[in-house]
C-alpha cells in the first residue's frame, strides 16, 4: 500500500515537473541566450552562458539604439497613476454602493459591472476621436484615463464584497460619535481593506503594464511609448540582430517576473479566496 502510494505520488510529481518545465522553459531560454555571444546563441542554444560565451553586447545595443529607459518610466507612470486612481475611486464607489441605500443603487451597480465583460477596446474609434478633439492624443494622460475607466468595474466589484465583510459596529460606533462620513470611510474602513487593495492592485497592474492596443493607437512619438509598445517596435526593426532582440525581450520580461515573484502570494490568495468568482 505504502509503495503504491509513493509510486502514485512520484507520477504526479513527474507530470507537474514536466508541465512546469514547459511553462518556464521558453522564458528561461530567451533570458539565458540574451547573455551569450551570437555564435553561441546559434551554436548551442540550450547551453547556459559560460566564461567563453558570456556577453552583454545585446544589452549595450538596446540601450544605445532605443529609448528603453523612457519607455520604462512611461510604463511606470501610467501603471502607477492608473492603479492609484482605480483603487481610490473604486473603493469610494464600492463604499457608496454597499453602505448607502438609494433608489437605483442596484441598477447603478449592474451598469458599472457591464465593463467587466464588455471590452473597452471596441470603443477605440470614438476614444481616439475624443482624445484628438481634447488635444490629449499622444499623451500619457490619455492612456491613464482609458485604463482607469477599464479598471474601475472589476475593482468596484471586488472591493464591494470586501466592504460588506467589514464589521458594522465599527461604522455605527463612529457615527454615534458624530464622525463625518468621509472620515469614517478614509480613516476607519479604508485601512481595513488593505488585503483586498493588494489583490485589486495586482489585477489592475498586469493588464495595464502588458497592454499593446491603447499605446499603439493613442501614442505616436517615442517619448510617450510604453515598454510593451517600444519593445514591440524595436523587435520589428531589429529582427535579424539576435543579440538585441533577445536582450530587448529579456528586459521586457524581467520586471514583470520580479513583480510577480514578490506579489505572487497575494495574487494567488486573491484568486483562490474567490474574490473573482
Amino acid at each position: 500500500m505504502a509503495a503504491e502510494q509513493r509510486a502514485k505520488s512520484l507520477g504526479v510529481h513527474l507530470v507537474l515537473i514536466a508541465y512546469s518545465l514547459l511553462a518556464v522553459g521558453p522564458i528561461l531560454l530567451v533570458v539565458m541566450n540574451s547573455f551569450k555571444v551570437r555564435s553561441a546563441i546559434f551554436g548551442s542554444p540550450l547551453a547556459p552562458p559560460d566564461a567563453a560565451t558570456f556577453s552583454l553586447i545585446g544589452y549595450e545595443k538596446v540601450f544605445r539604439s532605443s529609448h528603453i529607459l523612457t519607455y520604462y518610466s512611461n510604463s511606470l507612470i501610467v501603471t502607477l497613476v492608473s492603479m492609484a486612481l482605480v483603487l481610490l475611486f473604486g473603493a469610494m464607489a464600492a463604499w457608496a454602493l454597499t453602505e448607502y441605500r438609494f433608489r437605483g443603487s442596484t441598477a447603478l451597480a449592474l451598469f458599472l459591472s457591464i465593463g467587466i465583460m464588455v471590452p473597452i477596446r471596441l470603443g477605440s474609434v470614438a476614444i481616439l476621436n475624443m482624445m484628438r478633439s481634447a488635444g490629449l492624443n499622444d499623451t500619457l494622460t490619455a492612456l491613464i484615463l482609458v485604463y482607469v475607466a477599464q479598471g474601475l468595474p472589476m475593482s468596484i466589484f471586488i472591493l464591494s464584497e470586501f466592504i460588506e465583510q467589514v464589521p458594522r459596529d465599527l461604522r455605527d460606533a463612529a457615527r454615534c460619535d458624530g464622525v463625518p462620513e468621509a472620515r469614517i470611510f478614509f480613516e476607519v474602513v479604508a485601512p481595513l481593506l488593505r488585503p483586498a487593495i493588494a489583490t485589486v492592485a495586482v489585477f489592475t497592474i498586469v493588464p495595464i503594464w502588458n497592454d499593446l492596443w491603447f499605446p499603439l493607437i493613442l501614442t505616436s512619438s517615442d517619448s510617450t511609448h510604453t515598454v510593451t509598445l517600444g519593445v514591440q517596435q524595436f523587435l520589428g526593426q531589429y529582427i535579424t540582430d539576435w543579440n538585441s532582440v533577445l536582450a530587448a525581450l529579456s528586459m521586457a520580461i524581467l520586471p514583470v517576473v520580479v513583480i510577480y515573484v514578490i506579489l505572487s502570494r497575494q495574487l494567488i490568495a486573491g484568486l483562490t479566496s474567490g474574490a473573482v468568482k
Partner: protein, 316 residues
C-alpha cells in the same frame, strides 16, 4: 440587509445623502461614463455614418453593414476573420480547459508537496505580455534558430519539424496553441480554487464508500466545479473574440501568411487604421467594432440564459 443600513440612510437629510453620493460615486461614474460607455455608444453611432474625401460625415443608416456583409471586397476578409476566430476559440476550449482541469486536479490532491512552487511557476506565463510571449515563441519555432527542430531531433522526431508559423495550413493553430500555453494558468487557478471550496465531508463520505481518487474526481468534484468551468469558458470567449496582440506581434497587421491568421481584432485594426493595402476608414472600423460587440453580446446572453441558469442547481 441589516437594519442599521436603511436607518442611516433614512435618517439622513436628502440633500446630505445626495452630497455623499456625489462625492463617493461621482469620480468613478464620470470616468466610466466618459471613457468606457460613451465611446462604445459613440462607436456604434459612428458605424451608421460615412465620410467623403473632404472629411465630412454623412448619415447612411445600415449601409456600412451591408457593405461589410454583402460587398465581396469586405465580406470575404470578414468571414475569413470570423472563421479563423472560431477556430482560435475552439482550440482554446479543447486544450485550455482540459489541461487547466487536469493541472488543478493534480494540485488539489491531498498532501501534495511543493504545490505552492508548481502553482507559481505554472501561472508565470499568464503574467507576461502577449507581445513578449508571441515573439519568444516566434524565435523558438523559427527554423533559423533551430531550437524546436533540435529538440524534436533529440527525441528522434526530427522529421516532424516544419516551420509551423509560416505555413498557411498550420499558422493559426500554432498561434492558438501559443495562446493556450500562456493562458492555461487562468482556468487552472479558478478551478483549483473551486476544488478547494468543496466541503471536506463530501469527499470523506465518498472515501468511506470506497471510491478511489480518480472516481472521486470524476463523479464528485468535477460536477461540482462545472459552474466555474462555464465561467472560465465565457471569459475565454470574450478574450478570444477581442484578441489582437498575439497575432499582431507575431504576424503583423496583415496576419499572414495570406491572411491565414487574420482574426476579428486584426481585421478591425486594419480597417480602422489601414496598412500597406488600404487606407484607414474610421466609419467602417466602427462598423466592424459594432459587429464584434454584438458577437460578444450574443455569446454573453447565450451563456447567461442557457448555461448559467441550468448550472445553478449544482452550486453549493
Amino acid at each position: 440587509m441589516p437594519e442599521s443600513v436603511s436607518n442611516i440612510t433614512a435618517q439622513m437629510p436628502r440633500a446630505k445623502l445626495a452630497g455623499l453620493l456625489l462625492f463617493f460615486l461621482g469620480p468613478a461614474v464620470v470616468i466610466y461614463l466618459l471613457f468606457s460607455i460613451y465611446p462604445l455608444v459613440a462607436t456604434m453611432a459612428l458605424s451608421t455614418y460615412t465620410s467623403d474625401p473632404s472629411g465630412a460625415r454623412h448619415f447612411v443608416g445600415p449601409a456600412n453593414f451591408e457593405t461589410l456583409l454583402g460587398d465581396a471586397l469586405w465580406s470575404k476578409p470578414f468571414w475569413n476573420a470570423l472563421g479563423n476566430n472560431l477556430i482560435f476559440f475552439a482550440v482554446h476550449m479543447c486544450m485550455q480547459n482540459p489541461i487547466g482541469i487536469a493541472l488543478a486536479g493534480l494540485l488539489s490532491l491531498p498532501g501534495l508537496r511543493l504545490k505552492g512552487f508548481y502553482r507559481t511557476v505554472m501561472f508565470l506565463p499568464t503574467m507576461l505580455s502577449v507581445v513578449i510571449v508571441g515573439f519568444s515563441w516566434n524565435l523558438i519555432l523559427s527554423p533559423l534558430w533551430g531550437v524546436a527542430s533540435g529538440a524534436l531531433k533529440a527525441v528522434g522526431l526530427g522529421s516532424l519539424f516544419a516551420p509551423w508559423l509560416g505555413l498557411e495550413s498550420s499558422a493559426l493553430v500554432t498561434l492558438s496553441l501559443i495562446s493556450v500555453w500562456q493562458f492555461v494558468g487562468i482556468p487552472m487557478m479558478l478551478i483549483y480554487a473551486a476544488l478547494l471550496n468543496i466541503p471536506e465531508e463530501l469527499i470523506d463520505a465518498a472515501r468511506v464508500d470506497g471510491l478511489g481518487q480518480f472516481r472521486i474526481f470524476f463523479h464528485i468534484k468535477l460536477p461540482l466545479v462545472l459552474p466555474t468551468i462555464s465561467l472560465v469558458s465565457v471569459l475565454t470567449f470574450v478574450a478570444n473574440f477581442n484578441a489582437f496582440d498575439l497575432i499582431y506581434s507575431v504576424k503583423g497587421a496583415l496576419a499572414g501568411p495570406n491572411f491565414a491568421t487574420d482574426i476579428l481584432g486584426t481585421f478591425f485594426y486594419r480597417t480602422f487604421f489601414g496598412n500597406q493595402l488600404q487606407l484607414g476608414n474610421p466609419t467602417m472600423g466602427a462598423a466592424v467594432a459594432t459587429v464584434m460587440f454584438f458577437i460578444i453580446l450574443v455569446g454573453l446572453c447565450l451563456y447567461l440564459f442557457l448555461v448559467q441558469r441550468r448550472i445553478r442547481r449544482y452550486a453549493f
